[in-house]
């Protein structure tokens, strides 16, 4: 009976051996493997760049949304000062919708940042491995060529084939890491392709949506109104209540919405 780690090790080794069996000239295989590793490294690097780009885009959008949110609050305050409670209500309901988006985006931003750090670290490790492999590859090639020239191939070859299986495993290891990275990068690509990261501009809401938001965000708006009224009247009594009520619901909804996107 063998456990998970033994079985995984065996599968890796079997794959490495199969890859080596197909090889005719070990020097060609080594060059080919190195080429492959470089390509994989390139892919990982692209993954890092993609994630960084999405993160920066999210930051821009967050700034934009926060600016708009502040503007709407300001408008609400002015409307209220002018005695236009209906306008103030409208401004605050729009602001509530924006705040919802902001908290959604913040969750996404955090997740993305975590992924970026992981990918960067992995890319650095992979780079070190690829460099080490290049050095080793040249040594092995030289040894092999020398062995051929000395016509003691039969003797030397046994030593080389031992070395080769180590290198084969090194290749597999580079690949196992990269496959994982690709899966991660793939998840992010998917996220971009699905528009999940692009779709934060939904500011241009139609009237029906605004009406719906007003209904669903009603309590928040009422609380905000009260807070502003209190502010205008010079008393901060309603403030605490409004802040607590608002942030609690926002957070819950944000988490529920963003989770399935990242787990895929």
């Amino acid at each position: 009976m063998s456990g998970v780690m033994k079985r995984m090790g065996m599968i890796f080794r079997a794959k490495a051996n199969k890859a080596l069996d197909r090889a005719e000239d070990p020097r060609e295989t080594l060059d080919y493997s190195y080429q492959k590793q470089l390509e994989l490294l390139q892919k990982v690097r692209r993954g890092v760049a993609d994630v960084a780009t999405s993160r920066k885009r999210l930051e821009l959008q967050l700034n934009q949304l926060q600016g708009q949110s502040a503007k709407l609050e300001d408008q609400g305050r002015k409307a209220l000062a002018l005695g236009r409670e209906d306008l103030a209500r409208e401004a605050l309901s729009r602001r509530a919708a924006l705040q919802q988006q902001v908290s959604d985006l913040e969750v996404q931003h955090q997740t993305l940042q975590g992924e970026e750090e992981k990918l960067t670290l992995a890319a650095q490790r992979l780079q070190a491995k690829v460099d080490a492999f290049r050095t080793k590859k040249e040594t092995i090639k030289a040894t092999y060529t020398a062995a051929q020239a000395q016509t003691r191939i039969a003797e030397s070859f046994s030593g080389i084939s031992e070395e080769m299986s180590d290198v084969g495993l090194a290749i597999q290891r580079a690949e196992d890491k990269t496959a994982q990275l690709q899966a991660r990068a793939g998840a992010i690509d998917e996220l971009l392709a699905s528009g999940a990261l692009d779709d934060q501009s939904g500011l241009a809401k139609d009237d029906i949506q605004a009406e719906l938001d007003r209904l669903s965000g009603g309590t928040d708006v009422e609380l905000e109104l009260q807070r502003m009224k209190a502010e205008l009247a010079g008393g901060p009594s309603a403030q605490q209540q409004a802040i607590e009520g608002g942030s609690g619901t926002n957070q819950n909804q944000g988490q529920q919405q963003s989770h399935p996107r990242f787990e895929k």
């Binding site: 009976m1 063998s2 456990g3 998970v4 780690m5 033994k6 079985r7 995984m8 090790g9 599968i11 890796f12 080794r13 794959k15 992995a122 650095q124 490790r125 070190a128 491995k129 460099d131 080490a132 492999f133 080793k136 299986s165 180590d166 290198v167 495993l169 090194a170 597999q172 290891r173 690949e175 196992d176 890491k177 496959a179 994982q180 990275l181």
Partner: protein, 92 residues
């Protein structure tokens, strides 16, 4: 003995630790075969922690074959099952 944690790197462990690790490893396999996701997560976490605690990390530029390989900490039961099936692990 050298153990790889996928996505994390390699660690070198003294053979004397393997009695303990084998026990967790067999438990993990049983849980995987039974489809016990909760147990699987718990045992995988315990196994990875033990390897990290007992082992010394290999430098990033070391080229040593791993004798044992462990899934990454966030691998799910389904992912590991797929890796252990014949075509899994490395495409092509």
């Amino acid at each position: 003995m050298i153990v790889r944690i996928m996505g994390e790197g390699q660690l070198e462990l003294a053979d004397s630790h393997f009695v303990e690790l084998n026990r967790l490893d067999d438990e993990l396999l049983e849980e995987m075969e039974a489809g016990d996701e909760y147990g699987f997560r718990r045992t995988l976490g315990a196994l990875l922690d033990a390897v990290r605690r007992l082992g010394a990390p290999l430098p990033d530029d070391a080229l040593e074959p791993s004798e044992l390989i462990l899934p990454s900490p966030d691998a799910t039961l389904d992912e590991v099952r797929e890796m252990l099936s014949d075509d899994g692990l490395i495409p092509g």
